[in-house]
Amino acid sequence: MGAHIEEKETTQTVIESDGYMTVHDGKYPDSRWKEFTQVMSRTLKTELFGGLKITFKNMIDALFRNEMHTIRYPVEKLPISPRYRAVHKLLALLESGNNRCIGCGLCEKICIAKCIRMDTKIDENSRKEVSEYTINLGRCIFCGYCAEVCPELAIVHGGRYENASEQRAHFVLKDDLLTPLDFLKDQKEYTGFGAPSDDADAKIQKTPLAY
């Protein structure tokens, strides 16, 4: 019994040392008279009016001192950290407007979800040119390695964080996605985790209901 109490006390001190404090709700009255005096003191202390005062002050602050917590979301948006990892952007050179990407393929290599695909070719000036660059946002885990590894700061994470939608098409807005919509049907996927394997059709078996 004594050991049990000791154990309890030690846990309590541990909790307190973590920066938490225990709430002392006072002693419970042990006699009728103390109960009565507690009721009387609580009645006459007018603590309830303290609550009223707080809400009234909140209302005045909200109405006249512009301390409103609401933001009008679709119009107004909360600022997000520059390090936030949202939907990608492929940046261009500020001077010429050319694509910054040099087609090194590092992002494609480092991609954990294997959702980046890049096709390159040698153009007429015998320079390497990116002919197609796709990111499958359905598979992207937004780890940010592609942006981290990019030597030219060509691929970055943008600020668009509204990723939820009812329709797949909303994820591939022409301006936002890296591959133009017209070429989406040619998009090739790497065989990564979660992707259907090449012989997926052959592996399909009938479900019991079909028999």
Binding site: T43, G51, L52, I54, T55, F56, N58, D61, A62, T70
Partner: protein, 330 residues
Amino acid sequence: MDPIYFLETIIKILVVLLVFSALAGFTTYIERKVLAFMQRRLGPVHVGPVGLLQILADGVKLFTKEDFVPQNANKPIFMIAPVITAATAFIAMSAIPFLPEFTIGNHTVTPIISDVNVGLLFVLGVMATGLYGPLLAGMASGNKWALLGGARTAIQLLSYEIVTGLSILAPLMLVGSLSLIDINNYQNGCVTDWLLWTQPVAFILFLIAGFAETNRTPFDLLEHEAEVIAGYATEYSGMRWGMFFIGEYANLFTISFLAALVFMGGFNDLWFIPGGIAIILKVMLLIFFFLWTRASWPHIRPDQLMWLCWKVLMPIAVINIIVTGLVIML
């Protein structure tokens, strides 16, 4: 019967019904706005200017929502229960003088549907009958949450009726009449004549009991969302649910008018403010207080509610009556 009198009464009834049904909707809007500001939010803003058309949208929603009756419910009682709440709330209003007399042309209009000489008793009696609405709804729903809500209706409304009655007895002893117009005329002087100053304890008791009777938040055991889903109204939808709330808000106005009439000088002129506007200001103040407490104070448990009623409020009310009686005798 005088046809003019008949016509006038019908018009008054229609005006009271329409105004207070509309006010019920408007008060939900005001309540949402006030609660929002007190929690530093905006409340409804999207529908109409500053969200004012939200009332209309809510009304359309309530009217067009599916009106279903649960399979195991006692159908006739289930369907009639909301009507009882709304009807008793409006019947109670028939003996309340809302405004002072005024004249249109040569005709004097008294804004009271029926000036019975037991007005206060009538109002309290009919409001007490309103207990049957939530009680029968809870019992007829065939749902254990609704049943619990109904049981709580019984404990809460029955006990607080007693406090209401006892608390209002002391000012009645001073006035010596049950007619609300007589009570109002008793305080026809300045602010110092208000019964609030001679009967402060009765006023506080009446307000507390009023909170309980109108199911406002510190005492809304009937529909304690945190514990019993929606209490007696769990199975209700659409306009049947809406009628409960029209009844609740009508009761809110009735209690506010009663408090203003009995304790706060009623529709007597207040300095330069004419009586009609004075009483509306008083009622608005009381309603704001009702909303304010809803934002500030927590719910209480059923046992605390009963404890407060029977062990604190009722003895205080009785002592108040005894002291008032002694003072009158001396």
